[in-house]
Amino acid sequence: MSAIAVLAALGGNTPSIPAPHIEYGRLSPMLVVFGAAVAGILVEAFVPRRHRYWTQVPLALAGLAGAFVAVVVLAAQGRAPHLELLAMESVAMDGPALFLQGVILLVAVVAVLTYAERRLEPKAGGLPADAFAAQGAATPGGEQERAAVRAGFTTTEVFPLTMFAVGGMLLFPAANDLLTMFVALEVFSLPLYLLCALARRRRLLSQEAAVKYFLLGSFASAFFLFGTALLYGYAGSVKLGDIADVVSGKAMSTPAQLSSTQSDVLLLTGLGLLAVGLLFKVAAVPFHAWTPDVYQGAPTPVTGFMAAATKVAAFGALLRLFYVAFPGLKLDWRPVMWGVAILTMVVGAVLAVTQQDVKRLLAYSSIAHAGFILTGVIALDRQGVSSVLFYLAAYSFVTLGAFAVVTLVRDSKGEATHLSSWAGLGRRSPLVAGVFALFLLAFAGIPLTSGFTGKFAVFQAAAAGGATPLVVVGVLSSAVAAFFYIRVIVLMFFSDPQPGGPTVAIPSAFTATAIGVGVLVTLGLGLLPQYFLELASKASLFAY
């Protein structure tokens, strides 16, 4: 089916395509970010190379800050159907969408700060260098690359690329029909594939990561698109609300009168394929295989951004799909999601135990956390939504902070990510090791950190929703997970430093701010979470 036909279907089968009514004001968060992204591309085209860094960084930060203000203003306007379902009902700027957009924007601000760090790498060609390749298109190790390094080039394209990714992520949890959701998925995925390939050091590893991510991500996108097509065949619409109506029997399937077996096949296969696409993005088992390689290979600031923001956006979309389009089908998808959640928690926690690289360890830990969040998704009530929203906010700042600390521990070859080289870090740099230990304890869900509050919220929602076995598996895998977090703490504090081991570089104010925000949020959401729990609870109602 061609895109035009789909649009025609959206427009109510009239022969001509009506001009859509777009509420620009209500969509402003995304428009501001996309605008800043486009402006960033123009900067790359027209501003002299030596001025680009100082143009791009403020531009990106201003765009994100502006969008965040817009989100706050929109949230303050309250809710009403005409305020929430926008652009011909293809975008829903409702509570969960606004909450997650706020989180994504704040995450992006912190991530841009870590991108902007230029004090950690030694100068190249007499100019400060950042974590990104001098010239992305140059062959690794080739003459062209050496020339680019000598000339002191830096890849300031990362800022507009990130802004496009952020724009797509803002749209993803707000997308109210499957096509918009697919477009958003591609808009945020493609820049991420590129960003993964742009590490300054270990470029082959970085490019390998990007290729893996791209290939597997394309498959996932294809699954998602195919699922969309099957569901259109089933319901005659790609709108989530319409699909829900057909599922619940409120509306008839429009395009063809299928036999009920045929339509069930379309429905269940379609839902399954959509779920595969989304579970790939949240790195749930068995669609997690890309995570360790990509996390390890990507430039660390990008890994932090990806690990935090992608998860937020993808879980937002997953929530909307299950809560808006398929609540009537919960008897079918819930058992499967139970299985996925259990597998994800167990596999993530168990495989993390054997990891020897900090970034891979954090990757497996992020898989286990995806499992914890899934237990909240499955609850299928408002408590479930609000607990997932809170968990995502808490988790993303811990993740960003942890990866920002990883950028600081360096030896002559760049970041020293092998765990053995972290031995004795607590003795050389008690402050940095202490901060990293705090993040690890938050990951482990120790009380008085944000990780505990989040874990408590999702497990409580799951238990209230009757998923007691999930909670039991959850606490047991938390115990396994605690083991490997503690192993790192032991290594940092109770082991002898290796001779010639890494040193902790002194960062500029950018990374220091990023880590500081991580610490503040981790402790704040751990000690005094009430305000944010209320916010998440208020934001937990989907519009449809």
Binding site: A444, F459, I486, V490
Partner: protein, 549 residues
């Protein structure tokens, strides 16, 4: 609403932050300031805890001096504190022991240049410890942090609040065990120490996480029945008057979830294996914190939470728990007899004693439970004396092996004498404090389960064996090489031991102030479980517990 309880918790917490923030540096003066500040803070906390115990009226309401502040409304969680007699006494015990431990650990966190006792690490390497410059500050700040968290646990009347601090105290304890070891451990000590620290943390975290599932389960079930709160008083009242009815399975599962965490912490056989490692590798002061302070939270919580919230399941499981505690009593004592390492011997003796405490709690009689509560206090004091003197001994010789000692009483008579008192207290010699509590526990158990009481009595015989054999092997006989020049206790060490010995004797002859404070709360706990003492078979037996109904 007075803020006395909050103040008692906040003072050590603020002291921890203050101590950690004191200027770093390895000069003697800087270190002395740090220690003085820590000692001063713990003294203030002691005064406050004593005021709490003094203002507690045993004949008044069940929970007194209550305070409640809003914390996480979304989950019905409040920052609620309140004391009953048991909590007041145990918090006071904590506040007494912490200054003693600080004084005893005066040089334990100094940089490792050979200490004044000539017992530095053999090669001067500081393997496996927290780095020099902030080492002293870190050690004393961690002790105060543990004190603050333990006191909150004793005062908390909100299940969630209790859970949070019950779990959070693992982290400073973990760093105390892993970061500051016994210098007598030898070259292998760094590895063994981090092994012990990790084992401690993993055991307790697993227990805590299982309890988390039970805490969530309790809240969800209570919410279903319209009692959406974590407030202990509301919950126990609701359980008592039937507003909160748990089905048999749920009741049992939740009880086991809570009990598992407390049994790991206490520790009850067969969940005890972390304790000998942790107590063996940690400094003597830290070992006292573990066994005399932190572990008491476990037994205390059995009394307050397991019995109060799940009375039916408590009655159901009591016989099984009694069997486990009986195994613990005998097993701990037998292993103590076989130990070659002084500190591990004390650890196994403690496992045997925790068996007595848990037996007293789950005998579900008033003598048993007030005996168990007194036992917690007396075990804390007597083990602290025993362990700390052992620590002084070990720091002089640089070895934990019993075989390296002999004839110490000829060289250092005061040290040997106080060590003997600690040992005699451990074996419950009449006239010393532990005798009273052990007797009460045995009587209380015997009235309901005669067979269990009889077997447990053998624990006393075994205790005499390990305590006296230890004394005989280390203190008597010909003076061993390496012991010859051993100095006797110094003024600071005497100041550590004197109050503990005094308390052991005082509470042995006159336990009345403690029992008066504790008994009404014990009776209240027991009535929650719908248990009364078995009818006396003989009028004389009735008079022994005659003050109570």
């Amino acid at each position: 609403m007075s803020a006395l309880l909050t103040a008692t918790c906040v003072v050590p917490a603020a002291g921890a932050v203050l101590t950690a923030a004191l200027p770093a540096g390895s000069t003697e003066a800087r270190r002395r300031t740090t220690k003085a500040v820590a000692l001063g803070v713990s003294a203030v906390a002691l005064v406050l805890a004593a005021v709490v115990a003094a203002r507690f009226d045993p004949h008044g309401a069940r929970y007194q001096l209550t305070e409640s502040y809003s914390w996480i409304r979304s989950f019905g969680i409040t920052f609620s504190l309140g004391v009953d007699g048991i909590g007041a006494v145990l918090a006071l015990l904590t506040a007494v022991l912490v200054p003693v431990v600080i004084l005893a650990s005066w040089h334990d966190a100094d940089p490792v240049a050979p200490g004044p006792d000539g017992a530095g690490g053999a090669d001067g390497s500081e393997a496996g410890t927290i780095e020099g410059k902030r080492r002293t500050q870190g050690f004393f700040a961690l002790i105060l942090a543990v004190e603050a968290m333990v006191i909150v646990s004793f005062y908390a009347t909100d299940v969630f609040l209790f859970y949070v601090f019950f779990e959070a105290m693992l982290i400073p304890m973990y760093f105390l065990i892993g970061g500051f070891g016994d210098r007598a451990g030898g070259p292998e000590s760094a590895r063994q120490r981090s092994y012990a620290a990790v084992k401690f943390l993993l055991y307790n975290l697993l227990g805590g996480l299982v309890m988390l599932a039970a805490v969530i389960g309790l809240y969800v079930l209570a919410q279903d029945q319209g009692v959406a709160t974590f407030d202990l008083r509301t919950l126990t009242d609701a359980v008592a008057d039937g507003r909160l009815q748990l089905s048999g399975t749920a009741d049992k599962a939740l009880f086991l979830g809570f009990f598992f965490a407390f049994a790991v912490k206490a520790p009850l056989w067969p969940l005890h294996t972390w304790l000998p490692n942790a107590m063996g590798e940690a400094t003597a002061g830290t070992a006292v914190l573990i066994t005399a302070v932190v572990d008491k939270v476990g037994t205390f919580a059995m009394l307050r939470f397991c019995l109060g919230l799940f009375p039916d399941a408590s009655r159901t499981f009591a016989p099984a728990i009694l069997v486990l505690s009986l195994v613990g009593i005998v097993y701990g004592a037998l292993l103590a007899i076989g130990q070659k390492d002084i500190k591990r011997l004390v650890a196994y003796a403690s496992i045997s004693h925790f068996g007595f405490i848990i037996m007293g709690i789950f005998a579900l009689t008033s003598q048993g439970q007030s005996g168990a509560t007194l036992y917690m206090v007396n075990h804390g004091i007597s083990t602290a004396a025993w362990m700390l003197v052992a620590g002084f001994l070990i720091s002089r010789r640089g070895s934990r092996l019993i075989a390296d000692y002999g004839g110490v009483q000829k060289v250092a008579p005061v040290l040997a004498g106080t060590f003997l008192i600690g040992g005699l207290a451990t074996l419950s010699l009449p006239g010393l404090a532990p005798f009273v509590s052990e007797f009460l526990v045995l009587v209380g158990t015997f009235t309901r389960y005669p067979a269990v009481g009889i077997v447990a009595t053998f624990g006393i015989v075994l205790a005499a064996l390990y305590a006296l054999l230890l004394y005989q092997r280390t203190m008597t006989g010909p003076v061993k090489e390496g012991v010859r020049a051993m100095p006797d206790l110094k003024a600071r060490e005497l100041a550590v031991v004197a109050p503990l010995v005094a308390l052991t004797v005082l509470l042995g002859v006159y336990p009345r102030p403690l029992t008066d404070l504790v008994n009404p709360s014990v009776d209240a706990t027991l009535s929650q479980v719908h248990r009364t003492d078995p009818a006396p078979v003989h009028p004389v037996a009735a008079s022994s517990g005659g003050e109570r109904k």
